[in-house]
């Protein structure tokens, strides 16, 4: 192929690409193209597809056997990929010395074996129907090479070696990341030789850079007005819709929010479709569930809460708050009171609820949210694994501060339902259980779905194949110019 270079905007300082402790989507985007998992997500459909594993089988969701692809080559001359690499990678995550925050994802593993170099057998402690997500090309699922890790020492995050379509050629942490085509990639070399990521933090500047022709592809434009300009100027608006939903976390330890009628009243009181249409019609839509409509387990039968202020008022009165109450909301100060919050305040005030914002800077916000020190807060659910979402956010073992269940939700019926769903091997039965779980959750409303976000990667018209998957990632192997 030709030696083409694609210049891509990168929107923040890179934080490193070690799968064991990688953070933030933009970094994962790089890692996604360097590493591979046993499975991966299809860029167009979001379905799980084979990656390093050609095929797999399980009967009971307990024992998983993966047949590995043969002849896969490591980048930078580290030889052929084998089952040992898979075992090494997972053990590394599980090793306390690695201090990986993703360790909990793999703690369900009972044993791992490699009967031959191209087979991996994993036995779980409990059945898990969503296990394919765990081994996908996504942080803990990304396979690393022992020798490369050891050679890098404490600089692993800056010296990633994978089996993906691109390898890291050079990096200047403050301005630039250069990826080069991995010629030995098992699907064949990617069409574009060099990916040149330029760090441009300001969205407006990034748009100007695209319009100036300085970059080919703009990773993530999150200003509605700039999207309009770029669209009008004829740029290609690559995007993925509903990649994540934003929820309002209702803290159950709060005496007021404990009452389900209050939670339902809040849900009825705010007209999210109207809000999103007003502020950011391209970037946002209204969410109706914790799970996204494109997920295979998504159920249409769960209750929804259309805008109905009268009903909200009635519910409040029933709950004993005819004159409303004060709803304290924790938020980040990075954008101040967002337009969305302004609308929420407005809508809630119409049913008598006084929403008060408590804005703190991002680290503080994260800390308090993780500890569960708030009345309500918002959370973005980016995970592609519906099972993970339900477990992390609703299962009592994950109640904050230990886990992500910030609502401190503990409903025995739901707990048993999701545990059963995870273990269920029969797909149909599994779907039923998931539908039931969604029904319970949406009736109980520990999290009120607010908005869902869309991700835009505007590009020049000659850039093809920018398929943003539901993790907001692009597989650059597909991209041509």
């Amino acid at each position: 192929a030709e030696d083409k270079t694609l210049v891509v905007r990168f929107y923040d300082d890179p934080a490193g690409f070690d799968p064991a402790n990688i953070f933030r989507i933009e970094n994962e985007n790089i890692a996604f193209n360097i590493f591979s998992g046993l499975t991966t997500y299809d860029g167009k459909t979001g379905k799980i597809v084979p990656d390093l594993a050609e095929s797999w089988e399980t009967k009971d969701n307990l024992t998983w056997t993966f047949r590995l692809r043969k002849g896969v080559q490591w980048q930078k001359g580290y030889g052929e990929f084998t089952a040992a690499d898979v075992l090494y990678s997972y053990k590394r995550i599980l090793d306390p010395a690695t201090a990986s925050p993703y360790v909990s994802e793999l703690t369900g593993i009972e044993t791992m074996d490699a009967p031959d170099p191209y087979t991996v057998v994993i036995r779980l402690k409990a059945p898990n129907g969503g296990f394919l997500h765990t081994v996908a090309n996504y942080h803990q699922g990304q396979i690393v090479k022992k020798e490369a890790i050891e050679a890098a020492g404490d600089q692993v995050r800056w010296k990633p070696v994978g089996t993906g379509p691109y390898y890291l050629d050079s990096i200047d942490v403050s301005s630039r990341i250069v990826l080069k085509r991995h010629d030995g990639y098992y699907k064949g070399p990617a069409p574009i030789a060099t990916l040149d990521f330029h760090i441009i933090k300001d969205d407006a500047t990034a748009a100007i850079a695209l319009r100036n022709g300085e970059i080919d592809l703009l990773m993530r434009q999150s200003k509605e007005e700039q999207l309009q300009i770029l669209k009008d100027a004829g740029f290609k608006m690559n995007h993925v819709d509903n990649y994540a939903s934003s929820l309002k976390v209702m803290n159950f330890s709060d005496p007021i929010l404990k009452d389900v009628r209050v939670r339902q009243a809040i849900a009825h009181a705010i007209d999210y479709p109207a809000i999103t249409a007003a502020i950011a019609p391209s970037l946002q839509g209204a969410a109706t569930s914790m799970l996204m409509p494109w997920m295979d387990v998504f159920s249409k039968d769960a209750p929804t809460y259309p805008y109905d202020p009268e009903k909200a008022k009635k519910l409040l009165a029933e709950a004993g708050y005819p004159d409303g109450f004060t709803l304290k909301t924790l938020g980040t100060s990075a954008q101040g009171v967002t337009e969305q919050q302004q609308f929420e305040i407005d809508y809630l005030s119409q049913v008598g609820i006084k929403m008060e914002l408590e804005l703190v800077d991002t680290p503080t916000f994260n800390q308090r949210r993780n500890k569960g020190e708030f009345m309500t807060a918002s959370r973005l659910l980016p995970a592609i694994n519906p099972d993970m979402i339900l477990f992390s956010y609703l299962h009592p073992v994950n109640i904050a501060p230990k886990g992500l269940n910030g609502a401190r939700y503990n409903n025995l019926e739901l707990t048993t339902t999701i545990e059963a769903a995870r273990a269920e091997a029969d797909p149909e039965r599994r779907m039923e259980l998931y539908a039931k779980a969604q029904k319970i959750v949406m009736a109980d409303l520990p999290y009120i779905p607010a908005t869902s976000s869309n991700v835009f990667w505007p590009s020049k018209t000659n850039v093809e194949g920018v398929n943003i998957n539901y993790l907001a990632q692009v597989n650059f192997w597909d991209v041509t110019k």
């Binding site: 009171v337 302004q342 914002l357 680290p363």
Partner: protein
Amino acid sequence: MAHISISLPAFRSFQLQVSDMPGLMRLLSNRRIQAALLILVPILLLTVFRPFLPIPGPLETNLRAMTKPPSLDHLFGTDRMGRDLLSRTLAGVQISMFVGFAVALLSLCVGLVMGTLAGFFGGVIDRLMMTITDIFLAFPSLLLAIGLVSVMGTGMLPVVLAISLSDVPRFIRLQRSLVLSLRSRAYIDAARTVRASQMWLMTRHIIPNTIAPLLVAASIAAANAILVEAGLSFLGLGIMPPAPSLGNLIRDGQTYLEQAWWISTLPGTVILLIAISLHFLSDGIRQVLDPRSRK
């Protein structure tokens, strides 16, 4: 981004002679002060009487009039949420003026007290104070702002404190130098010959004579604070939207420059006018104070 650095360059050029108290009339007859008041007074009046003007409230959204250019209905146009920008600008003036005034007052008061102590007593107190001011001057003011906002959350108080914190050392130094030049005045000696107490000397003789030059510095500090607030808002450290501080208005509008120039330009012009008139004010006071310009 000179403004975030919260620099008060005017301080350094401060070659004011401490001299007679300018009478109110003398102040009012100065051209610059007149010009300043000509701008400030109408703006302030409009601000104060905004609630009685026939314009929507600053937070009232109107989804039917989003991003409308200036017209008779909306003299300054509307923003993306259909809020009237004239109303928001006036409300913003109120907030910004408050920030400016609070910063000026706070810095002035702290600077006055500490500077007087350092200049008057000298010795260990002075050296300690100077070291502390040195430390604060060597400290990037932006960091102070981030720190304060993190501790206290965003809002008026942390913004005022953050801006003041970097002004205060300069006020201390200014006051100190003024005190030093006053300390050797003959009238201080005259009071000392009758054993006047230190307190008496400071409150009767020194402080009253440093107020005017401090006011000059304070009006510049106020102008600066308004701009710094705008800069802090840009970094998300200022006064939180939707509160329409002028900084927020400019920031909100700046990405729409191409589509809706008025959103940031008009409030920006108002900031400019206010800041300029505050500078005029300080120039005016300075002129009145300068013995040479008085003949």
